[in-house]
Subunit: 240 residues, 2 copies
Amino acid sequence: MAIELYATAGSVEKDLRNHVVIVVDALRATSSMITAIQNGARSIIPVSEVEEAVEMARQLGNQRVLLCGEREAKPIPEFHLSNSPLEYSSDRVSSRVLVMTTTNGTRAILRARDAKALFLGAFLNAAAVAAAARENGENIAILCAGTNGKYSLDDILCSGAIISRLLDIDGNQYMDDLARTALTLYDSYREDLRASLTGSTHVERLRALGMEEDIRFCLQEDVMDAVPCYMDGVIRDYSA
Amino acid sequence: MAIELYATAGSVEKDLRNHVVIVVDALRATSSMITAIQNGARSIIPVSEVEEAVEMARQLGNQRVLLCGEREAKPIPEFHLSNSPLEYSSDRVSSRVLVMTTTNGTRAILRARDAKALFLGAFLNAAAVAAAARENGENIAILCAGTNGKYSLDDILCSGAIISRLLDIDGNQYMDDLARTALTLYDSYREDLRASLTGSTHVERLRALGMEEDIRFCLQEDVMDAVPCYMDGVIRDYSA
């Protein structure tokens, strides 16, 4: 098995068709999507633009559709849910179709849509997504959303967590240099992930917006077994 | 002061005109260029293509010109010097004009040519290049060459060394997430840089080609005070 890690969607120069891809946007898009699927959402449709989301919801045209997402980490006016995983409770999302747009996460998912298989990962489902990826192939690429086109420590630490679970399954791996770095950082910081993220750009931005509870929620490891899987424009539970 | 770090030339999405840029290709392009300038080379002209180098040397048309560089880490047929810093001795390079082409390093230099000031850094001149950069501005971007368009641990560790010297000058800095990561890795590994690079893609490639002595040479810290500076297509000593 080989594990490659990319810090941003823009840094992937190769064709991903022979790779199983795990997209990571730990704070908060993939965490919210995993929570939604865990809590019974029927599907999630990721779209790039706010207007596109509104139009998609109009076309789907029924009461089971929820408009979800953020711009600059803030809620979008008139949308049902923001990008806080705390909002994706069973009573809100169960059996619903979610149309979702997020700044960095959606871009990463769309970049990887030609992958052999495409899963969504976060700390919440690290072990489960590692197992699903391994079932689907030998060449695994983890693609981080990053923050505004740049390397973001929260995504890298989350990738380190997923890599450690992949190594639990099969310890004999080729890892590229960034995958090695992520594992080193995760092993150094796993005892206190929240403290280790102090000073990092994205976390400080979320803190400034009063989102400490979201951060705390998203840093829980292996508490969900939902593995959102993207295929032909729609995200559904892999086990379904 | 603010310090940003980019793992590859392709990952820079912003305009660098207001930044002082340090280009790092520690194994081996910037190490060779620093060694050349330290040993009295008059100037270095970086070009992208082998044919371009040959044509440039023809135009310059005198015996003081040396053709230098590599392709896939190997010497280029008919060129005077390869990309090994061990070849850039005083007796070979003193008073010479070097026309140089390297796979990743040249690309990074050309990406940053609009910078407010552009210096070349490596372990060899970490303290000297940090001081020169700080003299020229508050916003410093370190731009790594990377390996074949990807994050390369040797360049990141070298950037960590340069960042630690920048903090020695002024400890109160904004650092982006990748700069923080580089400093963490450097602080963890500085006691044995060579061992820490075992398993990394670029180092293993150089080892397979029998270049262990080059690696050993390039990992020496602060042994040179030459600071190559790029301006208008030509690299010269900053102090000159």
